[in-house]
Each structure stands twice: as C-alpha cells, then as structure tokens.
Assembly symmetry: C2
C-alpha cells in the first residue's frame, strides 16, 4: 500500500494518541471524518491548525490564551483581590462553568511529586508569591482536587504563603473525597465556593 | 469570554462530533492537544487538512483514495478475476488487514434500506454489474456483515448477478451471527475467506 493508505494510516496513528481514543476508535473517527470531509474534517483541521498556531499559556496565570495575557487576567473587573489556585486548565474551565468565581486564577499545571521531580518551581509557586504582592491579593482560594496529591500540594502552598499574611481558604463543602474537580457539576462547584473555609 | 475561549470552544464542539467522543472527552482531547501543540496538534491539523483536501472515493470501487483510482484498482496484480463486495470502507480495511484476499473490491457504502430510501442505485449495484463484464470477473465474494440488513442485501445482489453466470460465494465459517466484519480478528477473516461456499 502506498500513497493514500499511508497518509490515512499516519492520520489514524496521530488520532490514536488522543486521550480516550484507541487504534480502533481512531480508525472509526478517521473514516467518519473522511466521509464528512467538507462539512467536518476541513473545518476541524483548519480550526485545529489555527489553535495550534495561536494558543499559548498566559504569562501571568497559566490559562490557555491566544495572546501574551489571557482574557481573565486582561479584564480589570476580575481584579477582585481573590486568586483561585487550580491544578490544571481543565479545572479553571470547570470553575468558569460554575459562574461563581469573579476573581483571577493561578494554574499550577500539576501537583508536587517527588517521583516525577515536580517541585515548587515547576508549579510556579514562587510566581504565585510574587503575584500576591504585585496584584494586591487579599485571599487565595485553594481549589485543588480532593486527592492525596492535590491536598499535599495545598498544604505546601498554605505553609509557603503563611508569612505573607494573605487569607488562605479552600473549597469545602461539596467536593467528594477522592473526586476530581473537572468531573463535578456546576452546582456543586458553586456550593463549594460559597462554603469555602479557612485553610 | 472572547477570542481564545471562543475558538477553543468551537474546536471542542467540532471534536465532539467525532464518533466515540462526547463533550467532556472532546474537552479533554483538546486540552491534551493544546499541551502537545507542537508535537501532536500541529502535525495532526496538517495531516487532517491534507487528507481532507486529497481523499476521495475511488471512481471504480468506492475505496478511499487520493487519486481518481485507488491503489488496489490501479494494481494489475489484483486483477485476479475475484471481486469482493463489502458494505463499507472500514470492512475493506478489515479484509486487507487479514492479508488473505488478493483480488479487488466493490464498496457498497451501506445496505439496502426501504426506510432510509437506499436502493440498488445508491449502493452502486448497476456499476457492480458493469464491472463483472468489463473486468472479466469470474467470482464475486459477498463479504457483507452477518446482520439482517447485510444478508438481505447479499441475497438481493446474488439474485441480480445470477443471469451473468458469475460464480457467487460468501464468507462462511467464522463470521459470528449478529457480528460485524470490522470487529473480527484477522485470523477469523482469513479462515472465513478460505472456507467460502457457494451462495
């Protein structure tokens, strides 16, 4: 087989690297795309290429953005003095879907892990300290996953921030033990934000 | 939210239209892509755009190809006088993975369906009749799914081809009742091809 089949096999191999798709479902997806190549495949390729070219991490908070600074950091109405610390951009999106938080974010990009050599520097914790002074932050809300790794990281951040005197809270009621933020419904996230308690 | 978020939401909405992906898994996939935008997202977008531009149905058999005629129809070594009729390009790919069939294909693109107004014309059955004369076909192998729709279509084709005097066979041993071709392992497909019987 040459030509067309090779290119389609390459496309299937790339698609199979997406989370949730294996070789078989990638093959089904590619066939579906080829059948709908004008209505779905071409616009998807174009949008994907566009986002690949323009998307980057916000220099301030780590959110996904097309500019140097993301929409949330660029919006003066979000300078409420509240800073919400999340593990991941998916968690930031989950918080935004809840429409309950009006402040800004700090995306860690993971949790502390000795095994994977992820330390405070990799998570941007020194940058978080800088932001507290520079942006006049009065409250840091630790919205980390209720997993062992998330809570360990939350404790570390709380300890690190203690000398600054900033108020440190964490999402409380509603986050189930062992659960992950991105899997919660919007109502639960709102409730947890309203019932936040001192850490 | 404007700009970046809108474009990313559009991308998620397009991804969610793929079979096997819902809104949540599409969001995860897009975040994964954005994280790997240089190594995965950009090449995937490029390859997808390339295939969207170049892929088309082979004018002879209905296989996916980048030219007017697919690799199999263009290969003189595959002019064995055997023609394998399949419902779908996915089934053709499944047959090819079995490496047992050396002839050419005819892709119906579906099964006869009164409800969905799919008749012999839509499935290219008149074209199949033409090919039997034009290509000197001696045997037509009906490799349709072992479903009610597949077998109804197989019976219709067998009846239609009877006046031509061509030998009509069907995949036999190994195809489980109610099963679909694309889900079989390669060995079962090979065994079924070897044990084919007169229809």
């Amino acid at each position: 087989m040459s030509g067309a089949r090779d290119e389609i096999e390459d496309l299937i191999a790339l698609m199979a690297r997406l989370p949730g798709l294996g070789p078989r479902s990638a093959r089904r997806a590619v066939l579906h795309l080829i059948r709908k190549r004008a209505g779905l495949m071409a616009p998807l390729a174009q949008m994907m290429g566009h986002v690949a070219d323009t998307a980057r991490e916000c220099a301030v908070c780590g959110n996904i953005s097309t500019g140097e600074i993301c929409d949330i950091c660029a919006d003066p109405r979000r300078a409420t003095g509240e800073l919400c610390v999340v593990e991941d951009v998916a968690d930031l999106w989950a918080m935004e879907r809840g429409h309950a938080f009006k402040g800004r974010y700090h995306v860690l990009g993971g949790t502390l892990s000795a095994l994977e050599a992820v330390g405070p520097e990799e998570l941007g914790i020194p940058k978080l300290l800088d932001r507290i002074g520079a942006e006049g932050v009065q409250e840091v809300i630790l919205a980390l996953n209720a997993t062992v790794e998330g809570q360990t990281t939350a404790h570390y951040i709380a300890e690190t921030l203690e000398p600054t005197g900033v108020r440190i809270t964490s999402l409380a009621q509603g986050v189930p033990i062992g659960g992950e933020l991105d899997y919660l419904d919007d109502g639960t996230i709102s409730a947890a934000l309203r019932a936040r308690r001192s850490f």
